[in-house]
Amino acid sequence: MLAMAVIVYCAVYWLEQAALPGNFEITSTVNNTMPLVLVAMGQAFVVVARGLDLSVGGVMDLANGLAAVHIHDNLASMVGWSVLILIVSGAFGLINGLLVGVGRLQPVLVTLATLAIYQGLAIRVLPQPGGSIPPLYTAALVNPNRPYALIYVMLVGFLWYAFRRSSIGVAIFALGNDEQAARANGIDTLQARVTAFALSGFMAGAAGLFLAANATAGDATTGDGYVLSSIVAVVLGGMNLFGGRGSGVGVIAGAFVTTMIVNILFFSNIDPLYQSFYEGLFLIAAVVLGGQIGRLLRRR
């Protein structure tokens, strides 16, 4: 599906611009997609465990806001605060996990509530769009001139690869397969569940950092749209919302397809008012097609 989307994208671009997308285009596309890739991967961890994390938007906003306010133009600040923000994001994810696992509450319910809470916290940190991200930070994360982004994408891919082959990964997959059976096999399902949510928080935090770096300034509301997009990317990537199976590589592809669709619409010069409409249409088509393709390819 990704191949299809890339082809269509190139075709439309060529028609409009009389040239194929160049390096700059590709780099900026990848840069723009990084936040979605990250947050979608985080969502994937939770979806595999048969859950859903709606609070990712809030965590992204919070990370975004904190980064804009606190990251200053020196290495210590950049590195230190980045780490701190990631830890905090992971902690918020942990809270989600504990509420769902120990409190035995439905994930949708819990994360809907924490979404609002985290959004609120984000607004408190950065009431108006502003703050600033040091240029060096932007250059490191979303460099418009060097394809560092591809490296980051590969890192995310490796993250999934390692996850899939780790004990905790197996535990989370088992949890999504059949919680009872997982427990009967001696798997600590509470630990698995909490970890899945913590990872989601962590990834959402990373996404927020990339978002801030890309915009070179902070905005504590841009993360909101990513909640739905992260789920769309996961579904497009062929992952089953009931959990227990699916491929993270597919999710990365799904994130790119989602962005591609938006870009295709942009370049086809369709009236911006109708863009949402077409976006929705494309997504439905993609999901249906994806389902059929998935049925052919099965697993992996």
């Binding site: 082959r165 397969n177 997982a182 001696g186 199976r245």
Partner: protein
């Protein structure tokens, strides 16, 4: 009838014992002061009706549940299992009826879960998982399961085999098996018994529950009988009649009710040349009040025949004629409208809606009758449902009880009851007594005969040739998707059915008129 005598001369200390254990659930006393002991090198069977407490007992021994009172001892030391892990630590492992396999992971991943081989960076080496799984499966003589297959893609029998292998691969000192043969075919049962014999020879202790008397006598050294939560004794040797009467508390007269005499009636159901992926030119004729058996070795097309007649499997050629009229049956709704009902073997996944109540399951096929203007009326549901519970003696605390909580035999009765309420005149019964305890089986036999007597036409498949031989007016034998023999009562024997299944013999009429192929 002596039980397998191979236990002579083994170690004499009990390796696992229960001393007057009791356990209640809510208001129901599932076990009341049951005692038991089993030795190393022994194969011990637990028998009893459904609801007698066998499963609860196994769960107690395996650490899945805690007793309310009484003591469990392993190697003569009292234990208080905090959970199954504690039991595992002492070498006591359980294979439950509800499989604990992860459906969307491969056989290999399931076999090696939590013990996966590691490669670089301490990450799981997926290729070696498959290799190790292959050697484990080969070591247990399992050749028909692909370690790379997803568990969900396997048949129930293969899944059960994988589960059994998974647990025995842990090298248990004592292994508990709850209804291990309920989903296995004949060759798989032989394989399992081979394993059990190996375990016994290795001085391990094997405890299992089963309803199949022939299995129990084949392999068990001793049996312990349960009834109503009480344990009625352990026996080295027991007569089947006595065992059944102990289990049911009643005297069981004849094994099988005799089929009633038929008059000359036109056929209710005729099938001509039915052909599809699973059946080949099958023709048969079934009259009202007749019980027509279908026998043969497993996997020869019986399932496909039954499912095709019910519209659940596609056919490419052939006619189905109901009451003299050609009928198109392309899906179960067509079949139901034609008055045909199918009671399948895998009740859990092919028939019952487990989380729904007994009442809802019973009335599932007659929704139109119990609703007005599209709205279901609970009041209308109660009467027919209660009537059926009564008629079939379904044991359930009330109609609202989720059907998943009933014992296997009672679940089967609910499924039967559903189609009886639907007033179908043609019943396709597919191995309805599989996994059902002996006493309930007898009840179901009586039911089948009565149903036929009331005017229905019954097509009956059973993996138990004895059942077919005794219950049916005629028996068709299928082999390789075709009908290869037709046997008529009186005088059908299980041996005839089996030989017809194995050698193609055209036999029509009594034993006197047999012609070899």
């Amino acid at each position: 009838m002596t039980l397998a005598p191979e236990a002579e001369g083994r170690a004499l200390a009990p390796t696992i014992e229960a001393d007057r254990v009791s356990r209640a659930f809510g208001g129901v006393q599932a076990l009341d002061g049951a005692s038991f002991s089993a030795m190393k090198g022994e194969v011990h069977a637990l028998v009893g009706e459904n609801g007698a407490g066998k499963s609860t007992f196994i769960k107690l021994l395996g650490g899945r549940l805690k007793p309310d009172s009484g003591e469990i001892r392993v190697e003569s030391r009292p234990v208080n299992f905090s959970g199954p892990d504690a039991a595992h630590a002492l070498g006591v492992w359980t294979v439950f009826q509800e499989l604990t396999l992860l459906p969307w992971m491969t056989v290999a991943e399931n076999l090696l879960i939590k013990r996966e081989p590691r490669g670089r960076f301490g990450l799981i080496d997926r290729r070696r998982i498959v290799e190790q799984a292959e050697s484990i499966l080969a070591g247990f003589g399992v050749r028909t399961v692909d370690p790379r297959a997803l568990v969900d893609d396997l048949s129930l029998a293969k899944r059960q085999m994988v589960e059994i292998v998974r647990i025995i691969a842990q090298k248990p000192a004592t292994i508990l098996l709850d209804e291990p043969t309920s989903s296995l075919g004949d060759s798989e049962v032989d394989w399992l018994f081979g394993l059990i014999r190996q375990l016994r020879a290795g001085n391990n202790c094997v405890i299992f529950t089963s309803h199949r008397w022939s299995e129990i006598t084949h392999i068990a050294d001793r049996i312990t009988i349960f009834r109503n939560g009480r344990e009625l004794g352990t026996f080295n040797e027991i007569d089947e009649r006595r065992a059944v009467s102990l289990m049911t508390g009643q005297r069981v007269e004849a094994h099988y009710p005799k089929p009633r005499p038929l008059g000359e009636v036109p056929p209710k159901l005729e099938v001509r040349g039915l052909t599809g992926p699973g059946v080949s030119e099958v023709s048969l004729m079934l009259r009202a009040r007749e019980i027509l058996g279908v026998g043969g070795l497993a996997g020869q097309g019986h399932r496909e025949l039954f499912f095709s007649l019910f519209g659940a499997e596609p056919t490419t050629r052939g006619e189905i004629i109901v009451d003299g009229k050609r009928t198109r049956i392309k899906n179960p709704r067509d079949a139901a409208r034609a008055g045909i009902a199918l009671v399948p073997e895998d009740r859990k996944t092919e028939g019952l809606l487990l989380p729904l109540s007994v009442g809802a399951n019973l009335t599932l096929a007659i929704l139109r009758r119990i609703s007005r203007f599209g709205v279901l009326l609970p009041a209308y549901e109660r009467r027919p449902a209660l009537g059926m519970v009564d008629a079939l003696k379904i044991r359930t605390p009330d109609l609202g009880n989720p059907v998943g909580k009933l014992s296997g035999g009672n679940q089967q009765k609910v499924l039967l009851g559903r189609w009886l309420l639907h007033d179908s005149r043609i019943l396709l019964l597919y191995d309805v007594t599989r996994g059902v305890d002996i006493a309930t089986k007898h009840e179901i036999y009586e039911l089948i005969v009565r149903l036929a007597d009331e005017g229905r036409a019954v097509l009956l498949y059973s993996s138990d040739a004895e059942e077919l031989a005794h219950l049916c007016h005629r028996v068709l034998v299928m082999r390789e998707r075709r009908i290869v023999a037709e046997l008529e009562a009186p005088g059908i024997t299980a041996e005839e059915i089996v030989s017809a299944a194995v050698r193609e013999i055209k036999v029509v009429g009594n034993r006197g008129g047999r012609a070899a192929a």
